[in-house]
């Protein structure tokens, strides 16, 4: 190659890279723009919503305070309910899946394979299928407008069981055997040995099931009647939007209460979210 050709090639490479940066950056702006707009509108006065300006309300946090204190739509209460539902859903799911995943990973028992395939095959069924029968069961149990009604029908996560099993299979059998020889009981082995060795996957599943319950809108809508005091954030938002003429600044401020905590959680723990959500796909 002559010197000139070489320079041309170099220039072409540079232009190409620049082009890639432009495409990817505009996509990133597009993807994040709705959230920027949500925060911006939440800080505006109602009259400014549709103006393309950066003029903020005085004080800029006005809407956040008003929404929080709204007597008819108490968003502090919705927020609290969402936290209770998501934390308890996360804890219960993680606990029962860890117990189950452990025996699928480390024990040999009758009907193990059959049970495992039966459980896995239900993963193919769309959750929408369960709406009516689960609603009927919850009604019969008189669990309408309760936390247990919102949480318990959705804690048996086959995905979670699978995730736990995958991870716990990597724990060497020798450690478990030697603990057993030292006289450890089954529960001791699980709590003193398996759990500490599985902190990563436990965190992962807790975060994912927390997230699942945080956004489990349809079910929370179905289990609560509008006058329930157990309404969660998304249900409260949906009712608020449906009730009056839409006050966009208030609606966006209320949306921030649902989005921003999750964004913060994501920024701190993104490794767990990404690994947890992709592990199922990449194992196959």
């Amino acid at each position: 190659m002559t010197e000139k050709n070489f320079q041309n090639f170099d220039l072409r490479q540079k232009v190409r890279r620049l082009l890639l940066y432009i495409i990817i950056t505009s996509f990133a702006i597009l993807v994040l723009f709705p959230f920027f707009w949500m925060i911006l509108v939440a800080m505006k006065d109602e009259g400014e919503v549709f103006k393309l300006s950066l003029k903020l309300a005085k004080p800029f946090y006005k809407n956040f305070v008003e929404v929080w204190k709204n007597p008819y739509y108490p968003f502090w209460r919705f927020f609290l309910n969402s936290v209770i539902v998501s934390v308890s859903g996360g804890v219960i799911t993680t606990f029962i899946c860890a117990l189950g995943g452990y025996v699928f990973a480390k024990k040999d028992f009758y009907f193990k394979e059959q049970l495992f395939w039966f459980l896995l095959s239900t993963m193919m069924i769309p959750g929408m299928m369960f709406l009516v029968p689960q609603f009927a069961i919850v009604t019969k149990l008189r669990w309408m407008n309760t936390y247990q009604g919102m949480v318990l029908p959705h804690v048996a996560s086959v995905f979670g069981l699978f995730l736990m099993r995958q991870y716990m299979q990597t724990i060497p059998d020798e450690i478990i055997e030697s603990a057993r020889i030292d006289g450890a009981k089954e529960l001791q082995i699980f709590f003193r040995l398996i759990v500490p060795l599985s902190v990563t996957v436990i965190t992962m599943l807790f975060l994912l099931s927390f997230l699942f319950h945080w956004s489990n809108f349809l079910w929370q809508l179905v289990v609560n009647t509008p006058e329930s005091d157990k309404l969660t954030l998304p249900v409260g938002l949906a009712l608020y939007k449906g009730q009056y003429e839409v006050f966009w600044t208030k609606l966006m401020a209320a949306s921030c209460y649902s989005i921003i905590p999750i964004v913060i959680l994501f920024l701190f723990a993104q490794k767990y979210f990404i690994q947890g959500l992709t592990v199922g796909a990449l194992k196959e």
Binding site: F27, P34, M38, V49, A136, I137, L152, L251, A281, L282
Partner: protein, 303 residues
């Protein structure tokens, strides 16, 4: 033998909590749903005990369902929605992954930015988009007008021709990061020397992806189609938040709702307290899912 018996007892004790929840809220409902689908709520049904007091009606609900054009239209809508969202979503995910894979600076920041919306609540994201799409005054309409594009008078979500596409765009931008991460993971397994060899042979950028990358990421494509199908059959929240099934469209002299997917249709039957009928809808949905998984598993084996 004795060891296995002992292990079996311990194993089922450990599994007990999971299995209690699994059988009461996932396995039993599949059977129970069928039972309900053969019954209906009548005027005599006690309001306080609806589900124990429904009357047996044979396959009446199924007959009614098969005759209901609204149901068939919702299936068509779901199908159309699935094709649009899965293909556009996959294309965008692949494009982003291919670009990010060419060793750009700030790789991690871009990756987080694209993945972030995945973990956010669909309902809230849907509400934000209704603001962005608002007719006449919404920012998207304003930007489109500024560059000389004419959007429908009633807004993208208000016009039956564009409403479903509007929902798809919002969902693709929310979810594309997931497919991107999967594609990226697969691409990073491909050794750079393969591409270098191809470059020396004078293969173009696009050919490189068609002949080298594509065959190696086939399993991911398959996975995204399967999970995408389940997701589409499940789709409800985005429709509830953005269009509530509307706007009304006219086809062959009948009126239909342009974004009423089957999941939303099922919800409406529940809302009308037509529980037997809604159970029948769920069962037909289950059968459709089974057909899809059967076809997919055949394709997988055939490959």
């Amino acid at each position: 033998m004795k060891r296995k018996l002992y292990d079996t007892i311990t194993a089922y004790l450990f599994l007990l909590p999971f299995l209690i929840f699994f059988f009461s809220f996932l396995a039993y409902p599949i059977v129970y749903s069928f039972y309900l689908s053969l019954r209906k709520v009548t005027v005599e049904t006690s309001f306080y005990n609806i589900f124990s007091d429904m009357k047996f009606c044979g396959i009446e609900n199924y007959v009614r369902l098969l005759k209901d054009t609204e149901f068939w239209f919702s299936l068509l809508t779901t199908f159309y929605y699935g094709i649009l969202s899965i293909s556009i979503g996959m294309f965008v995910s692949f494009l982003l992954a291919a670009i990010l894979n060419s060793k750009l600076k700030g790789f991690k920041i871009y990756r987080s930015a694209f993945f972030l919306p995945n973990v956010l609540d669909m309902l809230v994201v849907g509400i934000i988009w209704t603001l962005l799409y608002a007719p006449q005054y919404g920012i998207i309409t304003k930007v489109a007008n500024a560059i000389g594009m004419v959007l429908p008078q009633k807004g993208i979500l208000g016009d039956p021709r564009t409403a479903l596409l509007g929902v798809v765009i919002a969902c693709v931008l929310k979810n594309c990061g997931y497919g991107m991460i999967l594609f990226l993971a697969a691409m990073q397994n491909i050794s750079p020397s393969v591409y270098e060899a191809a470059e020396i042979d004078g293969v173009s950028e696009i050919q490189k992806h068609v002949y080298i990358t594509l065959p190696l990421i086939k399993p991911i494509i398959f996975f995204l189609i399967v999970t995408g199908t389940i997701g589409v059959l499940n789709s409800f929240t985005e429709i509830y938040a953005m269009t509530a099934g509307g706007p009304i469209a006219t086809l062959f002299g009948k009126t239909y709702k342009a974004t009423q997917v089957t999941g939303y249709y099922l919800f409406l039957q529940w809302e009308r307290m037509d529980y037997g009928f809604a159970a029948a809808v769920s069962y037909v949905l289950l059968i459709i899912t089974l057909i899809f998984s059967f076809v997919y598993s055949k394709i997988l084996r055939w490959k």
